[in-house]
Amino acid sequence: MNSFWNGKRRYIALLLFLAGVFVALEVPPVIPFIQLPGENLPAGYNIPFTDMRITNTLVAAVIVWLLLLLFLVYIARRRPSDGSEVPPGGFYNMFEALFEGLMGFIGGIAGGPHFRLIFNMFMTIFLIVLLSNWMSLVPGIDTVGFIHAHTKEKFDPETQEYKVITTDGFEIYQGFLGISYVNGQCNWISPADEAAADDRAMAAALAARAAAEQDALVEAAYARYQAEHDDHGDEAPGETADDAHADDDHATEPVETDEAAAAYDEVLAARSAEKQARRDRGCYTGVAVSSWEDGYEPAEKDAKKAPIPLHPDPSSDDAKRVPWVVLPLVRVASTDLNMTLTLALIAVVMVQVVGVRALGISYFTKFFNFSTLFKSPLGGIDVAVGLLELIGDFAKVLSFSFRLLGAMFAGAILLFVMSFLVPILPWPFFILEFFVGAIQALVFALLTAIFMQLATISHHHDDEHDHAEAH
């Protein structure tokens, strides 16, 4: 295995290059589809036994965890347990060098009684973020997936919200800044469709009633005919004309038979049961009060703007108008705000935990500092500073999550665009992304360590000492 990679196989790189040229010339380029929230995998890829949908960024996150677990087991098995000096080599050696380097680095910043705790958090966050950042460099990630028709977002006039509809017609609720959650139970039905379904149900009910009435009429007419032919077989023609006239009278006036009313009620009850079932599942049930407004008026626009069905038949004309896009099976976890926000919350909460461990309950005087309010003429400033610290800790969450999200999402877009602009040689940008991923992971983890170190320092007391010495 080692000899295979010993530098004699460089023609593999050349072959890959030629393959890139071939692909770039032969395969027509597709427009990269960029979406900020993680895309949902199609229905059928739910979490087993539930209706919860899986996003492709979650797949990447799970892969990262499994890789870290394997990595941990590997490192633990390779570690010489009895202190025997087995000369380490290969991957283990590389990791040990990295580990020791980072340990010294963090020791210089946050050496002290809480070094172990801080370094554990640092290394955990570093490895998670590093692995998930570097996943964007792996071929197939972000590119291999399900091809589907891209359907656009819809504005819902009832709830005044935008709704994204996935390929299979499930709603994604978009909350603040692309944090999305999915109602996996509901197919999206627009208010116009809902009204059309109502109209169809009403028409079906009317038709059923008319059919029942018709049946009743035919029945009655047949009965009369039978009776006439049995009883008055030798009637005068004038009387039959009278009878026909009487039949016409019968036909025009509505016959309220029980069967007709039952048929009518049955159809409408089925429709309202269907709507109730949707409502019971927590689905949005649109009722068209006004016409469906999304800036689209079928009468004025040309046929190109006509709505594209959610499941276009690939051989139909509709399919030719569909922008087909790839829904990647795995998308880099740190390009999803859910992932970065979670890490940021964990980091900031752990900063508070470290602070409380170091300083006890007096840690919170950092935020609510009323001790000098009436002692010193400038005590009010301390209160304001404390409140600013409190706000600053919430700002830390935002800045942590947006820094990582922005860097990695922009990197992913850069890789998309460059792969489509320069399909033969996008490698320099992959090298750039390699460094950006490493630096962002280091910055995320290092900032956590620095904030933790700052939280362990009781600067309140130090300030008083400084003031005393200064005076």
């Binding site: 960029i34 979406q35 900020l36 929230p37 680095f105 656009k152 977002e153 504005f155 935008y162 978009q174 800044l177 692309g178 800036g295 800045s399 947006f402 820094r403 999200l405 922005g406 860097a407 999402f409 922009a410 877009i413 630096i439 962002q440 280091l442 910055v443 290092l446």
Partner: protein, 80 residues
């Protein structure tokens, strides 16, 4: 102009304006790298420390530009 084009126009202009914020990040990165290179020239023995701190400072300055980038990405891809 039809409403769809107006929306696209507004999104493009807004995203472009939001990226003005990246100028601040550029200035910051330039200043910090300039200072670090001067310091490394003066005492090359401290190059590793200076380099580490420089990369950290660059990452912080870059973060501001990234915020602008995130805003413009949200304007482009999340707003509709």
């Amino acid at each position: 102009m039809d409403p769809q084009s107006t929306i696209v126009l507004g999104k493009a202009i807004g995203a472009g304006l939001a990226m003005i914020g990246a100028a601040g990040g550029g200035i910051g990165i330039g200043l910090s790298v300039g200072g670090a290179v001067q310091a490394m020239g003066r005492n090359p023995d401290h190059t590793p420390t200076i380099q580490t701190n420089m990369i950290l400072g660059v990452a912080f300055a870059e973060a501001v530009a990234i915020y602008a980038l995130v805003v413009s990405l949200i304007i482009l891809f999340v707003l509709n």
